[in-house]
Symmetry: C2
Subunit: 402 residues, 2 copies
């Protein structure tokens, strides 16, 4: 069944990325930039903090006391005050946490180390001897020019906060990919249609809408398409003029009489790059281009759609957004249960549940109603993997989660 | 500084959950249910698959050939066909992948094991001897009544697909929490305001908006509030009448002259449950209730806001949605670098970067511009932790990611 020329997973990745380049750039408000991907490194435009400030409520002192050895309280500086004063010798000013340090101020004594008699400040010996100046210097948190987010790294919540603090109100990010998908099969009906014997609700519509959104894309559901040339031609013609960034189909990919997908794709002007992979699932899956759109023809069964989405479509969606680390994270895991592989000759991937046990990465195969958290790689020459054995796995979590 | 009565983190968790119960239930379309939390277990309403069907394009056979030892082809059953036929002895029907099995059909022979001569089907010995019947039985994937999503578990993309297949078009889920937040500090300005010396852009607004959204809540930014009683009274009065599920503030929590938050909260009718914790950061953080709203008074520095959000606010937001596993995942990790703890007497949490190395969970402390992926727990009695040491950590990832 598997063609000698079918590429393996690694080759498929290369073939997909060769066709994929980051989308154009737009400038968006920082507030909307969560999980968007900057098109260039974002350095601090301003230092953080923006000015020297006190880290405590207390008193800021000039370099030296007056001739009587005293500091006299000359006024108060609150957070947010526009501070233009210059401390004279022997002067102390009451200062609040976050308030700008006045010129001539060299240290802050926390208020709990001080007493006030009239306008004279008395400082405890603990306060006088403390090494900490309770001053945070301009730029001590982040120096001007320091990169906050490297190009190709999704912006996280903490990045948004830091970027706001160092002068950003907008950020340049790659556009989000536009995805159009359709599900083929004469047996498929929508969830609200009256279902007759022999018909089934299309599950893949739900799967593809949610998965594409989770990986930062904007999906359009082009609906259900029957297993006939006319309907397939119509949907491809529409898509060819819409020019989404990515087209995904499910079903119609086998060797059967009604598996018309590949022919219809080619007749619509599509270029096939592969139409089978040397892995399981993946024997019946197509990748190609239709005009400016990437095209992924996935098989019909939802478990295969989920797996091939993660292994093949996800890298493309992330690369289109300019993300450097676009592949699922590859890790070593220890099996907590034996694992049967269905096949001996080629790499098989099985849906797994990833769990951390006492600092060790472990996994087992997923039950049918469990959501996949990793894919377990059964090597080509193995049929049965043992409990306790270390194998490779791909995590399905998204790079948008820090 | 730390009060003897200040609760520790574990006690704080108990105090918060005592005030938190799952929000009311609404019915929503399955299509919109990604990451929403069902209020009850969702069992399969129908079996999956819904009918016996062929897993290959091929020929379905009756139990026995005719007297000549032949199977004669009587017709074709495509996927989606409404199938009312009954196979007679010696009958074979061409059948497609996914098509309903006719009554009297006992096995399917894949087409590549067959040749057709006139209306007589010739089957290879490999086809005849195969153990696989190439039939998927009704309910063999998911039996009717089998639980697809347990109560209190977020719905993932694969669950949506399964639920669509077993008869759901709507699902009962808990409401999403409504959050109102405000940031206090005379020094704070909005990102587009002209910034004068001594003023800074509020970073916490960005942090709180994104974090609350990431954990399934709907945030409202109530803006910047000055360090004075009038402004604080006004915002609390508005919030008391709005009755959001959760109110969050930042700043104004220290012992200073302008730290008016706690007094204003009490004067507005708020009940304080704790106003300090035995952990660092956390010495200046308040939890209480204002009418039906939970109230979290967080300190001003954004790193402390991020940490206390994860450790204290996040469990409340998830519990309001009915999620059972509402705390950050606690794991053992191995330090890849030495770690200095600032304090000896109490638990300190430090922002860390979690990484899987060769199947082992490891971490190091985060640099200032890196997004936190875990919090490292420095035990109360330790000042310096060694490279290679195993310690506890809390992961910051969300339960919505499978």
């Amino acid at each position: 069944m598997d063609q000698p020329s079918a590429p393996d997973l690694q080759t498929a990745h290369r073939l997909i990325l060769e066709q994929t380049s980051a989308l154009p750039v737009q400038s968006i408000p920082l507030e909307e930039a969560l999980h968007r991907v900057p098109s260039r490194s974002l350095p601090a435009l301003l230092p953080s903090p923006g000015f020297n400030h006190s880290t405590r409520d207390g008193f800021v002192l000039s370099a030296r006391p007056d001739r009587q050895g005293h500091y006299r309280i000359a006024g108060e500086i609150a957070a947010g005050d526009i501070c233009k004063i210059h401390l004279a010798t022997g002067e102390a000013w009451r200062i609040m946490t976050g308030a700008q340090l006045p010129a001539g101020g060299v240290r802050v004594i926390p208020q709990e180390q001080c007493t006030v008699e009239g306008n004279i400040l008395r400082i405890s010996s603990k306060g006088l001897l403390a090494k900490n100046s309770f001053i945070r210097k301009q730029g001590s948190n982040i120096a001007q020019g320091k990169v906050i987010v490297p190009a190709g790294t999704p912006i996280q919540a903490e990045h948004q906060a830091l970027l706001a603090g160092v002068g950003y109100t907008e950020v340049p990010v790659h556009l989000q990919p536009k995805i159009s998908f359709f599900c083929t099969g004469n047996e498929l009906v929508g969830p609200t249609a009256t279902k007759l014997s022999g018909q089934k609700v299309s599950e893949n519509r739900f799967l593809l809408k949610s998965l594409t959104q989770l990986f930062g894309a904007m999906p359009t559901d082009c609906g259900l398409v029957g297993d006939n040339k006319n309907e397939l031609h119509r949907v491809f013609a529409t898509l060819d003029s819409d020019q989404p960034d990515v087209i995904i189909s499910t079903g119609g990919m086998g060797p059967g009489k009604y598996d018309l997908l590949e022919d219809a794709f080619i007749e619509a002007g599509g270029q096939v790059i592969y139409n089978a992979l040397k892995m399981r699932p993946g024997k019946a899956t197509l990748f190609g281009t239709l005009g400016q759109s990437l095209f992924f023809g996935l098989p019909g069964p939802p478990p295969a759609v989920h797996l091939l989405f993660h292994e093949l479509v996800r890298p493309a969606l992330l690369a289109l957004q300019g993300i450097k680390r676009c592949f699922p994270e590859r890790i070593r895991i220890r099996l907590t249960e034996p694992l049967s592989c269905p096949q001996e000759k080629i790499l098989c991937l099985k849906s797994g549940i990833f769990q951390i046990n006492n600092g060790i990465c472990t996994a087992r195969s997923a039950k049918k109603s469990e959501a996949t958290s990793c894919y377990l790689l059964c090597p080509a020459h193995r049929r049965q993997l043992h409990k306790g054995e270390w194998i490779q796995a791909h995590l399905t979590n998204s790079p948008f989660q820090s």
